[in-house]
Structures are given as structure tokens and as C-alpha cells.
Subunit: 361 residues, 2 copies
């Protein structure tokens, strides 16, 4: 197969980890006889520095013309005090909206070899395997009006949590579809005891459940879900939720695994290219030191192969390769050194870890 892949390294450790990910995809292409054409674009803080805007038109055009977008990470203290239009995150939000990738899939899995790196007790976290389906182009992130004005007693400020029926329907539907391919257990998370948008969300979910007799739908309030993710994470299979709730809960869920440096994500739309990125951030403190964990980005490549190119075998080969190098004891610093209950293996760098995965492929 021939495919165009847009590569947006971004800021901080983004360039390091995407370089390794591209090298991995090149190996996969060779082994399986594909042709992947990579083209790089600017995004985030580095785009602000080089092009004056966090999402240059050329980047959006490049992304739209591709079959899948591989993204590193955006953001850093350098741009933290800027107004919205000159913030790295605005570039990422613009890209999501521009590609209309309304569904962010975040698999939360615990790797058996790394379970002791979790802050949670082994018996609580061992075996966790959930998938968070986060709405990504609506809700509190994009609703209008948003902004500040001068009132009689000082600043007045609003943000708006806004949804139209079709936005809620399409993300719920994806949740149901995915749940029916997994254990058939879908948890819809909302705040229906307070928010009107959540009440609509819940009603639409209830109505849709009739079409999926094989799926058991349950509802949970977001505060209660935040508790259950710590207390009993194994009870979750597929979780579907609003943009901001998903942002908070998926980061919380990621950290219970003890290995956030390993977790990938996919952002999918209706037909167009998806965005694939590690869920960790740009980690400016370790950028350029060659110690960042490349595995989350490599596993994001597996999701790209699966969801955007329908190359399931190749996707699994990457996932198996990552499991193998972990089983063999390879650990980057985030997994080896500081983690609680570490195995004490001496850490390897970004390039060495990536090389081992490529060899395992």
C-alpha cells in the first residue's frame, strides 16, 4: 500500500519521539512491502516561533491531504503567558476542529511487567483494560460565546458547554459500536444531576441503547467516575464522555497504570485522516536529553496503521514488539528509575529503546 503520513513533531520531546516513530514505520513499510511517504509540518510553540501562528495554513492543508497525522506534543513554559491566539494548544485544538476528529480513543491498559510502577495496589490495578472514548470537537472546549467583558463590578467571563444532537449522537454511536466489539459494557459519564447538556446526553444514550441489544449501558456521574477509576478501575470497559470530562478522566485513568509514557491515542473523524499522538505532554524539562520514552508514540503508530490504513497485522506486530522489549527488561528512565516499586533495571535512552522495538519488528 501507498500512504501519505503527515508528521507534526511539535514542541519539547515531540521531535525526538516522532523521529523514532517514523523510523519504526519505515521498518514496517520495508518488511511488509508498503510505501509510506512522510511530510513534516509545523505546529504548536515551534510554529509560533517559526511562522507566527500555532497552526499555519500549510500544516492544516498537509494534514488534510494525508491519510493519517502523527503528532508529537505541543506546549511549554515559553508560551504560557500568551493570549489564546498565540498559544501552542490553540494549534492542536484548531487541528482537531479542522479535521473534525470528533472522537478521541484512549486505551488504558496495564502492562503486566509494569504493574508495580502504579501508585495503586497491584490487586486494584492488575488487569485493567479500558477504552475511553472522549468527544473531541465540541462541549466546553468550543462552545460560543466565550470571552471576557467589562461589567459594572469588574470582569465578567463566560465559557460555553454546547452540543447539538448530532454531535452527541455520533460519539455515543461510536461508543456503542466499540463496546459491542469488546465486552459489551458501555459506561456513559455525565453530570446529569446538574447540567442540562448531560441530561440530553443521557436521554440520547438511553434511546440509542435500544438499537444495541448486545451492549449493557450504564450511566455514571463524573464525580463518581473519578472515584471509581481509582477505587475499582477494572469495572470499566468502554467509557464515553464529554470533551472536558474526558480530558480529566483519561489523564486520571492513564496515571493509575503507572506507565503514562506508554499510552497512545487516536483521534478519529468521519472518514478523513485521524490524528495519532502519545497522551503524555511535551515534557520540556527532559527535552533534547535523549531520555524520553518513545513507546507511546510508537504505539500511536500502531493505532494509525489500524484505524487509518486498516493494516491490522502490522499494528499488532508493533504492539507485540513493544511487549517483547518490555518483557526482556528494557526500560526508559520514566519506567526504571523514579517509579514506585521499580525493578531497578538501569535505564536506556530514547534511541536505544526505539532500536530494540524496530529489531523486534
Amino acid at each position: 500500500m501507498h500512504a501519505k503520513i503527515a508528521v507534526l513533531p511539535g514542541d519539547g520531546i515531540g521531535p525526538e519521539v516522532t523521529t523514532e516513530a517514523v523510523a519504526l514505520l519505515q521498518v514496517v513499510a520495508e518488511v511488509y512491502g508498503h510505501q509510506f511517504e512522510f511530510e513534516q509540518g509545523l505546529i504548536g510553540g515551534s510554529a509560533i516561533d517559526d511562522a507566527g501562528t500555532p497552526l499555519p495554513d500549510a500544516t492544516l492543508a498537509l494534514a488534510k491531504a494525508s491519510q493519517g497525522v502523527l503528532l508529537g506534543a505541543v506546549g511549554g513554559p515559553k508560551w504560557d503567558k500568551e493570549p489564546a491566539s498565540r498559544r501552542p494548544e490553540t494549534g492542536l485544538l484548531g487541528l482537531r476542529k479542522g479535521l473534525e476528529v470528533f472522537a478521541n480513543l484512549r486505551p488504558i491498559t496495564v502492562f503486566p511487567e509494569l504493574v508495580d510502577a502504579s501508585p495503586l495496589k497491584r490487586e486494584v490495578v492488575d488487569g485493567v483494560d479500558m477504552l475511553i472514548v472522549r468527544e473531541l470537537t465540541g462541549g466546553l472546549y468550543f462552545g460560543q460565546p466565550r470571552g471576557r467583558s467589562a461589567g459594572k463590578g469588574g470582569i465578567e467571563v463566560v465559557d460555553t458547554l454546547q452540543y447539538s444532537e448530532h454531535e452527541i449522537r455520533r460519539i455515543l454511536q461510536l461508543g456503542f459500536e466499540i463496546a459491542s466489539q469488546r465486552s459489551g459494557n458501555l459506561t456513559s459519564v455525565d453530570k446529569a444531576n446538574v447540567l442540562e447538556s448531560s441530561r440530553v446526553w443521557r436521554e440520547l444514550a438511553e434511546a440509542m441503547a435500544v438499537d444495541y441489544p448486545g451492549v449493557t449501558l450504564s450511566h455514571q456521574l463524573v464525580d463518581s467516575a473519578a472515584m471509581q477509576i481509582v477505587q475499582n478501575p477494572k469495572r470499566f470497559d468502554v467509557v464515553v464522555t464529554e470533551n472536558l470530562f474526558g480530558d480529566i478522566l483519561s489523564d486520571e485513568a492513564a496515571v493509575i497504570t503507572g506507565s503514562i509514557g506508554l499510552l497512545p491515542s487516536a483521534s478519529l473523524g468521519a472518514g478523513g485522516p485521524g490524528i495519532y499522538e502519545p497522551i503524555h505532554g511535551s515534557a520540556p524539562d527532559i527535552a533534547g536529553k535523549g531520555v524520553a520514552n518513545p513507546l507511546a508514540t510508537m504505539l500511536s503508530c500502531a493505532m494509525l496503521l489500524r484505524h487509518s490504513l486498516s493494516l491490522e497485522v502490522e499494528a499488532q506486530v508493533i504492539e507485540e514488539a513493544v511487549k517483547r522489549v518490555l518483557a526482556e527488561g528494557a526500560r526508559t528512565a520514566d519506567l526504571a528509575g523514579q517509579s514506585i516499586g521499580s525493578t531497578g533495571n538501569s535505564p536506556i535512552g530514547t534511541q536505544e529503546m526505539a532500536k530494540r522495538v524496530r529489531e523486534a519488528v
Copy 2:
């Protein structure tokens, strides 16, 4: 001292635990020579059933005429499908707004005897002692407009996250004041990389920090805070945040202690009566069985004595009494039976636990 206390038992286990809490306050009154006058009012689902509304006018009047409100819990499956105007939670929100209790204080402490009941590893959670200061009468809970309408393509729905400058200022100020009385470490949690309201929040916090040279202010994004609460909860001292963020994070933080049945809360306004309630819910599944843990409500009484009546000694006497009965091994079912790493003590009921605390006072 003579004081009027409004007692709103509410739903589920609310009546059981408030009965014991009132009995405790009566003992305190006797021992220390005070006169507490208790008057009961309806709220929540039981108020809907008896008076057709979750917050009868008489209840609000009673609360306003009191020096402090002791609340059990509201809600239950019976009223889950009702519209907003006939939901138990609407009564609670109305009471908060009616008394303008803009600050919800949630102390998150780990009791040494119960640390093994936590889903987190002992070394992660032992010694946690944080206080969440949640804004309670604004933000996404109360902003206007909110509601649904029929658009061309189906339902359109909005909720609004709204703040005026003085609302943000007064909660931040309380956060700074409390932090300066504790370790001087204040974490303001927001989502300033996405929300305009958070940017205003952050700017106001920065500006205010100048007036509190003894307090070290740091900012954290809500998704990152959700991670840190699990990964490294000891890093937090005082946390101040928006209403919904506080709802989610305080429940998450509560559960890491392993003893949510012990955690109290106080909701305070500017001068008027405060509301004191356990942070656990109405627990309809165990209501009426005499097994509910009364300690969170009893510790809420301590907060009432401290914050609304300035009876610090009496407040501490209750807190010490609770510590003593726990040290002696007394456990209700939530602490003894099902918890991870339980000590195996055979559980005692609501009344027996409450009696031991009264005796210790």
C-alpha cells in the same frame, strides 16, 4: 452559648447519620454548658414527596434563621428521571445559592489506622493532609443561559461556565487566607490552556499573590491535577478551584484516603450560616439498615462548631474522640468488611459507633 442549628436529614442514610450527629452535639452542649436548639426541615427527595418541591420555602427560611445547617444527604434512584425542578439535587443547589455559601471546604486527611484501606500504596498516601477549597455558587453549575432548544438539525443544548470578578476574588482570597494559616502552599487549579474563565482566574490569582508574600502560589491544569492526586497526593496542601473541577477532584481525592465515610465538609458564605455535611452520598442501598458510618457527619459537626460557632475546643474534642475510637479498633462495615487490606475487625453499626464517640467526648 446559645445557638440555633437547622437539621436537614434529607434522603437515604441522611436521617440515620444526622440523628447520631444531633445526639453528639447534645452531649457536647451538656459537657460544655451550651444550649443548642435544633429544628428539622425537609430537603431533597423526601421534600419532593412530602411538600412537592426539593427546597420548601420553610426550609430556606429555617436555614437562614439558624447559625449553622447540618445536612445529611440528598438523592436516590426514585427521583432520577425527574426534570430539574423536581430533583433532590436542585434542593441542595438552591440551598447553597440561597445562603450564598460560595466556599466549600473539603479536608482530605488519611487516618493512620485506615491507611491500608486505601486503593493506593501506603507510601503514596500515608500522611496526606490537603484541603480543597471549591467555589460553590458559580461556574458551570449556575451560569446562564442553560437549557435546550429545537434547532434545525435536532436538539441544541447549552450550559454556561460564568464568573464575575468578585466571585473569583472572594474564593481565591479565602484560599490564600487558609494557605497562610497552613503550610503556605496554595495550588490554583484551572484549565487556562483552553478556557477563558480559567485565564481570568489565573490572572486574578497572580495579582492577589502579591498581597500574600508568605504564600507560594502555583497553578496546575485540571487534567494534570487529576493525575497528581493519584500519583503524588502529598505534594498538595491547599487547593482552590472552580465549582465543577472541585466536584470532580474532591471526590477523587476523597477516595484515595480509603475512608470516604469519614470525610466532612463545610460550605461557608460571608457571615451567614454555613452548611455542614458528610461528603458521602445518600447511599440508598444501605439506607435504614443501621450500618451507615456516622463519622463523616460527626466530623461535620466539629466543622460546624469551629466555623459557625467559633467553638474550637469543642470541635477538637469531637475530632479527638473520633481518632480515639478508630485507634481502639471500632469499624463500621465500610471500613471493616469490604475494604482492601482490612484489619478484619468485625463491624459495628451506626448507633454503636456513634455511642462510642459520644462516650469518648
